[in-house]
Symmetry: C2
């Protein structure tokens, strides 16, 4: 077996996942691809992303593309947590799990018996992770949190205003996606911390505070040292920092060191600029950043991207094309590394399907063997059997409406 399929570093860890949409599924996707057994507990109607994540193929209802890409390698069971029987199955799952993750509010967790104290009573080893909108105890505690609301409140939108004139959202569910990764990291840190026989603990991962820290760590800038200082990094906040149009597309050039700047002037056939005091040092180019960026932009229009790339490389100036999403799909590095693949064994539509894979490599453990995101309730029978429910009991649960 190759390292890539030896199971992953989290093999043997079970994650009970009561999250939906993006932030929680991002966290559990990472854990699942690293080999954790992620049991996705869905309400009878399924994770909302099954319907809102785009159009599913006719032969695979609920398998919307965004659902697929955030839920690979997980198992699905439907449990109606509004019923006592559903809660009882949940508790039995909790007793055998290492991690419980949800983005329910505190009150809802308590009413379902899924709060940290109840879980710890069932299983002292449990890492109980709550992804919240806002850290508990603060004035916004319990307020609804959606990605765009967090982008606005945390200063993400204002950074766009500073860069380009008006507040905008990033073209991603940026804070959901980032905070999901942060949650996966915190969970693994807590798994390290409990060791082989220590108790688990409760973790709270607040979206707003994490997003604001993300923004401010980059852009607190001179404001760090007092009210007189200015925010932000001028090389990032200028509207001139952008992919540069060439004759046929866009290119990204990074010429920040003195050697790169000199190489750039040679590459564009303007060697005299190497003696220009405006561009002679990092400090000088920062001072004249608008001039420097404008000069770069004007120069790039003279050739095609394919012409520029070897020329810039020859002068040791880092540069790469700016892909469109279309051209990205054909990128030889992305395909060659196996991060973007044509699914062969996991076809669900009528045409060849594109799938993504965990991008990191682990020399010893590899990652989990790839599995398609689950159909709703796909693994109910096997999960309940593993928990020791008899065929009769399983049928009873189904009849009781606990499961779909």
């Amino acid at each position: 077996m190759s390292a890539r399929s030896q199971g992953g570093p989290l093999r043997g860890i079970r994650v009970l996942d009561a999250t939906g949409v993006i932030v929680g599924p991002t966290a559990t996707l990472m854990l699942a691809e690293q080999g954790a057994d992620v049991i996705k507990v869905e309400p009878p109607e399924g994770d909302m992303m099954r319907r809102l994540g785009g159009r599913a193929p006719a032969n695979a209802p609920g398998m919307a593309p965004k659902f697929l890409h955030f839920n690979r390698n997980k198992r699905s069971i439907v449990l109606d947590l509004k019923t006592p029987a559903g809660q009882a199955v949940m508790r039995r799952l909790a007793a055998t799990s290492d991690v419980f993750i949800s983005n329910m509010r505190a009150r809802a967790l308590v009413s379902l018996g899924l709060d940290a104290a109840s879980m710890a009573a069932l299983n002292r080893r449990m890492i109980h992770c709550t992804i919240s909108g806002f850290a508990s105890g603060g004035p916004y505690d319990g307020a609804p949190a959606y990605d765009t609301i967090i982008q606005g409140l945390s200063g993400v939108a204002d950074c766009f205003r500073r860069q380009a004139g008006e507040p905008r959202f990033a073209p991603f569910v940026l804070t959901d996606h980032i905070v999901g990764i942060i949650a996966a990291q915190a969970i693994c840190a807590a798994l390290v911390g409990r060791g082989t026989d220590g108790p688990g603990q409760a973790i709270e991962v607040p979206m707003f505070e994490n997003a604001a820290a993300f923004v401010l760590s980059e852009h607190l800038g001179q404001r760090t040292y007092g009210p007189g200082g200015s925010f932000g990094d001028p090389r990032i906040m200028t509207p001139d920092a952008r992919p540069l149009p060439t004759r046929d597309g866009y290119i990204c050039v990074s010429a920040n060191t003195d050697a790169q700047a000199r190489g750039f002037f040679d590459a564009i056939g303007r060697p005299e600029l190497k003696a220009d005091p405006r561009f002679g040092s990092v400090a000088a180019r920062l001072e004249n950043v608008a001039d420097y960026f404008r000069l770069r932009a004007e120069a790039m229009m003279a050739r095609t991207t394919e012409e520029w790339l070897p020329l810039l490389r020859q002068h040791d100036v880092p540069a790469m094309r700016a892909h469109t999403l279309d051209s990205l799909l054909d990128d030889p590095q992305l395909r060659g590394s196996g991060t973007l693949v044509e699914e062969e064994d996991m076809q669900i539509g009528e045409e060849p399907m594109l799938g993504l894979r965990h991008a990191n490599r682990y020399s010893g453990s590899g990652t989990a063997p790839p599995r398609l995101a689950p159909r709703l309730d796909e693994h109910a029978e096997e999960i309940l059997s593993e928990l020791g429910f008899s065929a009769e009991e399983r049928a009873g649960l189904r009849n009781a409406g606990v499961m779909s």
Copy 2:
């Protein structure tokens, strides 16, 4: 001692950190705040971010703001890895560390004896993490990778084009920052995987592949199912998805469910729109997304943000102000949660200094007690003493130019 200062879940883990600038320091910042002993090995001139991360106060050279915010809770030692004596100290550090992290290229690691095989020979438990630009073995292997180049190549910039007409970079070192978090997560997963007596392993965290997977997981969309499908989520890609101007600022409103849409129409005094078939369901609003967003934008101009917030809350419509970076600094939730603090014991400039803290909470382990980012070489003496170097040997290393 409160949970917040009981040391963190990674207490007892030592991280040997040979990274600089943003991506690596982002990873080790998370580990440091979770209690790991992060030893930051700097070249004699220091981490480049000490100079490029903004202006340092006159009394604290090298303490540029961006350096400060990405290097809290770490210890610093200067080692000249070009010298055999510097390499020897490095090997002694490696023998006592759980994690080694760098973003050097493979060839440089081998030449310094810091490659995974050499490290494993010194310390079989070592988690050896390399953050690379591009997964090794592919056509871009070893090409220089900077954040903007990765943003362009991975499709981040093209998502801006799809949203707003031209390719742009995010106003963040977005891929550095995200991939740093991903690296911290992978390291902790590997620490879980080695258990109490298993061997470590080598991890590769490639920036491009991770960034492309980030983009495509959100925006592969219907293209997942074949060449005929379109990319992206139209609710995110539309230029109309943005913070909405009010009479005095900007507000973010999330009215996606039917109940929220109806509440919104009531809040703006247009209850008749509740019967408008264009807006009667999630599918209808998606179909008429431009109309829906325009209507929302027009309505918000009628009042101030402070007037809208309680009115929208009253109708159960999620909404929050879009902060400017200035107003964010006064946010009562951010301050109240202790994520943004006035530093009291760690003043280095002349005015009150602002600091950031790890945003997550850990009920059992807490986080590491806060410490300012280190001055260059601040901890050399104590680190070498811990390694068993005598006072004489330490002086010898200093004279040999190994340390600053």
